[in-house]
Amino acid sequence: MTSGTAKNAAESEQLLTFIVDGQEYGVDILRVQEIRGWSAPMPIPQAPAYIKGVINIRGDVVPIADLRERLGLPTLPYGQTTVVIVLRVLGGARERVMGVIVDAMSDVTNVPTGAVKAPPSFHDSSEPSPARGIAMLEEKMITILDVDRIFGEHVVIR
C-alpha cells in the first residue's frame, strides 16, 4: 500500500495522472482510494486556507484540500465539473484519508522507474518541493507529487 515499496520493488510504477493549471501531475495509483465529484464541504475553523473543509464519505469525516491553492496557484470556482481525488496520505506515522481538488482527470500511466528524474525545485520559497520526481515520457512530462509531504503534515491549531 505504500508507494515506497512499489517504487523500489517494481521496474515501473503506475500513476494516476490529472491536470492542474495545464500541467500534468501524477500520484501513485496505490494511494488513490476513489474519485468523486464535488460536494460542498463544512469549513473547519482555523484551518489552513487550502483546506476547504470536511465531507462525509460513507460515514468517515474526510478533509478536502485545494491542490491549486496548495501549490500557490489561483483557484477556480467549484461546481459540477470539479474533480476530487480521495487519497490515502501518511501523516504523523498514521494513515489519513484526504480529498484533493484538481482541474480534471487524465489517465492511468505506467512509468518505468528509469524515466523518473529528480525534480528541480520550482518553488523559490523555503518549502520543500512538492514533487518527488518528474517522469519523462516520450509525449509528455508528468510531475509526480509527494502527497505525504504536501498533505500529510498540515498545520492544525494554535
Binding site: M42, Q46, G59, V61, H154, I157
Partner: protein
C-alpha cells in the same frame, strides 16, 4: 529482550500475555482471599497454584526463561501449601504477592520490549526459594536440570507419547518435551512413523509422529507427567511403571487436571470472580485496559443477538426494495412504504443498542484492582479496612470504563488516608476498629452511578469553611450553600489535610477527579456526615460514542451543542445588552451578567456575524462559567453519533468532534470548554478582561 519467534508463535505470544495478565489478577485475588480467611481453602490454593503453573509452562514454551523461573519458584511455594507441608502465613502470602508484581512487571516489560532488573528478580527468587525450603522438592522446571535426590530409588517407566495432529499448532514442540524427559534419567526412545503420509500429502503444520520408550532413573510418575503437562489436552500419554519382576503397574492414562493451553476466544461474560478455572470473560489485563486500544472479549450470546438484528434488517430492506417498481406510487404502496420505514427505524434502533452493548463491559474489571490497592495501602497507613464491592456486574461502555480507573483510585486513596481513622481513634469513638470501604455501582436512568462509601470521620464542614477562608476562596463572612461547598471541595489545590503524605493531601486529586468525570459528561456528588462517614457518587453517561445534542444554525452551517452543557436558551432582548469597554457585549439575564459570543468570530470561521437584533442566545456552562452563544436558529434536538475529526484531520480547539446529520452533511460538535478558552484568549489579546 529479542526473542526468536516464528510468526505463529508471535501471534500466540499476544494471547499468552493476555491470559497471563488475567491469570495474575486471579492469582492476586486468590492470595488476598487466603490472607483474609482463617483457614486455607484448598480450592483457592489449587486455583492459585494452577495459574502459576500455567504461566510457568507458557513462558517456558516461548523461551522466556526468567519469567518461567520466577513462576516456578512461586509454584513450588504454592505446591507446599497444596501438599500441606507449608502453611500460608501472611508473610508467605505477601512474598507471593511480590512475586505477582514481579511477574506482571516482567510480562509487561517483555511485551513492550523493555528490560527489567535481573538482580531484583534473582533476589526475589532466592527469597521464594528460602520460603519453600521445607517443602518436598518437586523438580519439574523445564529450564533447570536437577539431579534427583540420592535417597530415591531407581524406577523404570514405560511410556507412549502420541501427540494429536494439531499439537504443533499450539506452539508445542515434541522434541523439546522429549529432551526434558531425557534430563530426568536414562531415556530409550523409539519413534512411531506409522501415521506419516507420503511427501505430497504431508502438511507441515501437522504432527504425524509418535514416540514410545522407557525412562529409567530416580524419578516419580508425577515428574514425568509434569514434562507433558503443557500438552495435556493435545496428546495421548500413557505412562506405566515397570516393576523389577516384569509386571506392569498401569499409572493414570491422562492427567486429571485438564488445562487448555489455548483458551477459546469468546466465552460467556460473568463478572470476573476468583476461582474460575476458565479465564474471566472481559479483558482484565491492566496494561491493556490502560492502553486504550486492544481487544475485547465478547459473550457469544451478544454476537448471536447482533446476528438476529442484522437478519431482521435485511428482511426489512428487501421488503422496502420490493416496493420499488414502475409506475407512480399509489396510496397502497405509500402505506406499505411508511410501514417499512417504521420497521426500519425500529430495526436500526435495536441494532444500535445491540452494538453499543458489545462495547459495554462490567465495571468489575476496574473494581478488581482495588482489593490489592486497599490491602497494600491499609498496611502502609496502619489502618484496618475491609473492602466491600457491590454491583461489579454493572456494565458500561469501554470508553467510559477506561477513564474511570484513575478518578476512583484518587477517591479510594482519599478515603483511606483522610476518611477512615486509625484503629485507636475508631475505638475511642465507639466504632469497630475494622473500617469499611464500599465500592458500589448501579444503573439509574440513563446513567451509571459509582459510589465510594466509607464509614470514616466524614468531612467537617466547619473545617472546610475555615480552610477555604484561609486560602482566600471564601470571604471572611461568607456562608456557602451546599453547591458552593461542593465546589470548594473540588477546587484545585484545596485540602484540609494537616500534612501531605505521599498518598494524598496535596489537594490535587479531587480537582482532577471532577474534571475527568466532567469530561466524560458526568458529575461528582458528595454526601457526608461528620463522625459517621462519607459517600462520593460519580454519575456517568453510559456511553461516550453517542451524545444528546442541540442542533443550532449559524449562517448556513449547523453545529451541535451537547445538551448537557446547555443551561438555557433565550431570545435576545437588545435592551439587555450592554457594550463593555467598547468591544464585548454583555447580556443581563436576571441577575447574571453573561458574556455574549459570536460563534463565527470565536471559531474563526468566515461567516455572517449574528447581529444582536435577530439572535437567539444559548447559554452554556463552560468550566463553571456561563457563556452566551449567539445563533440564528435552534434546530432539532437529537442523538448524534460522535465521529472523529482527528483521525483524518486533527484536533481543533473548540470542537469536540464531528457528526453526520440526517441529510448526509457533516456538522461539528462544539466543545464548550474549548470555546470558553478561545474566548478568554481572544479577550486577553484584545486587552480586555472577560466579565
Amino acid at each position: 529482550m529479542t526473542l526468536q519467534l516464528t510468526d505463529l508463535q508471535r501471534q500466540l505470544l499476544g494471547t499468552f500475555f493476555e491470559e497471563s495478565f488475567e491469570g495474575l489478577e486471579q492469582l492476586e485475588t486468590g492470595l488476598l482471599a487466603l490472607e483474609r480467611s482463617s483457614k486455607a481453602d484448598p480450592e483457592t490454593i489449587n486455583d492459585v497454584f494452577r495459574v502459576a503453573h500455567s504461566i510457568k509452562g507458557g513462558a517456558g514454551s516461548f523461551g522466556l526463561a526468567a519469567i518461567s523461573r520466577l513462576a516456578h519458584e512461586m509454584e513450588t511455594l504454592l505446591d507446599g501449601f497444596r501438599a500441606g507441608a507449608l502453611s500460608p502465613t501472611p508473610d508467605a502470602l505477601s512474598l507471593l504477592l511480590e512475586g505477582v508484581d514481579g511477574l506482571r512487571g516482567m510480562l509487561e516489560a517483555t511485551r513492550d520490549e523493555r528490560g527489567y532488573s535481573e538482580e531484583s528478580l534473582g533476589r526475589l527468587c532466592e527469597r521464594l526459594k528460602a520460603a519453600s525450603a521445607r517443602s518436598a522438592p518437586h523438580p519439574a522446571a523445564p529450564a533447570e536440570p536437577q539431579s534427583p535426590p540420592a535417597a530415591r530409588s531407581e524406577r523404570t517407566f514405560a511410556f507412549r507419547f502420541e501427540p494429536h495432529s494439531h499439537l504443533l499448532e499450539s506452539g508445542n514442540e515434541p522434541v523439546r518435551l522429549l529432551r526434558e524427559l531425557a534430563r530426568l534419567g536414562a531415556l530409550k526412545l523409539e519413534v512411531d512413523r506409522s501415521r506419516l503420509p507420503g511427501l505430497r500429502a504431508l502438511e507441515p503444520n501437522l504432527c504425524y509422529l509418535g514416540w514410545h520408550g522407557t525412562l529409567r532413573g530416580a524419578v516419580t510418575l508425577a515428574e514425568i507427567k509434569e514434562v507433558f503437562a503443557w500438552v495435556e489436552g493435545d496428546a495421548d500419554l500413557e505412562v506405566t511403571e515397570v516393576v523389577a519382576d516384569g509386571a506392569v503397574t498401569p499409572a493414570a492414562r491422562q492427567p486429571t487436571t485438564n488445562e487448555e493451553p489455548v483458551a477459546p476466544k469468546t466465552e460467556a461474560a460473568p463478572a470476573a470472580t476468583p476461582g474460575a478455572a476458565n479465564a474471566p470473560a472481559a479483558t482484565a489485563a491492566r496494561g491493556d485496559a490502560e492502553a486504550g486500544l486492544g481487544s475485547i472479549r465478547v459473550a457469544v450470546d451478544k454476537i448471536d443477538l447482533l446476528m438476529n438484528m442484522v437478519g431482521e434488517l435485511v428482511i426489512t430492506q428487501s421488503m422496502l426494495g420490493e416496493l420499488e417498481g414502475d409506475g407512480p406510487l399509489d396510496a397502497h404502496r405509500v402505506e406499505r412504504l411508511r410501514e417499512g420505514l417504521g420497521l426500519l427505524a425500529r430495526n436500526t434502533r435495536s441494532l444500535q443498542e445491540s452494538v453499543m452493548r458489545l462495547r459495554s463491559m462490567p465495571i468489575g474489571i476496574v473494581f478488581n484492582r482495588f482489593p490489592r490497592l486497599v490491602h497494600d495501602l491499609g498496611r502502609q497507613l496502619g489502618k484496618e479496612v475491609e473492602l466491600k464491592i457491590a454491583g461489579q456486574n454493572t456494565e458500561l461502555d469501554k470508553t467510559v470504563l477506561e477513564k474511570l480507573g484513575d478518578p476512583l483510585v484518587h477517591l479510594v486513596r482519599n478515603s483511606l488516608d483522610h476518611g477512615i481513622e486509625a484503629p485507636e481513634l475508631r475505638r475511642a469513638a465507639g466504632k469497630p476498629e475494622l473500617g469499611t470501604l464500599e465500592l458500589r455501582a448501579y444503573h439509574r436512568g440513563g446513567d451509571i452511578v459509582v459510589e465510594v462509601v466509607d464509614d470514616g470521620k466524614g468531612i467537617d464542614r466547619t473545617r472546610v469553611i475555615a480552610r477555604a477562608r484561609e486560602m482566600g476562596i471564601l470571604g471572611p463572612d461568607e456562608e456557602p450553600g451546599e453547591d458552593a461547598l461542593r465546589d470548594i471541595l473540588f477546587a484545585p489545590g484545596f485540602s484540609t489535610a494537616k500534612e501531605v503524605t505521599n498518598v494524598s493531601g496535596r489537594g490535587v486529586g479531587m480537582d482532577v477527579v471532577r474534571r475527568n468525570v466532567k469530561s466524560l459528561g458526568g458529575d461528582v456528588f458528595v454526601d457526608t456526615t461528620p463522625g459517621r462517614g462519607t459517600r462520593i457518587s460519580l454519575r456517568l453517561p453510559l456511553t461516550l460514542a453517542i451524545i444528546d445534542g442541540q442542533l443550532i444554525r449559524v449562517g448556513v452551517h449547523a453545529y451541535v451543542v451537547p445538551l448537557l452543557s446547555i443551561v438555557e436558551s433565550v431570545q435576545v432582548e437588545p435592551r439587555r445588552v450592554t457594550r463593555f469597554q467598547g468591544q464585548r457585549d454583555i447580556y443581563r439575564l436576571r441577575d447574571e451578567l453573561i458574556p455574549m459570543m459570536d460563534l463565527c468570530e470565536v471559531l474563526g470561521v468566515s461567516g455572517q456575524r449574528v447581529s444582536v437584533d435577530e439572535a437567539l442566545m444559548v447559554v452554556v456552562e463552560a468550566d463553571g462559567e456561563h457563556v452566551g452563544l449567539l445563533v440564528h436558529e435552534l434546530l432539532a434536538q437529537q442523538q448524534v453519533v460522535v465521529k472523529s475529526l482527528e483521525s483524518n484531520y486533527g484536533r481543533v480547539e473548540g470542537l469536540a468532534g464531528a457528526t453526520i446529520l440526517g441529510d448526509g452533511s457533516v456538522s461539528f460538535i462544539l466543545d464548550v470548554a474549548g470555546i470558553g478558552r478561545l474566548m478568554r484568549r481572544s479577550h486577553a489579546r484584545e486587552g480586555v478582561r472577560a466579565a
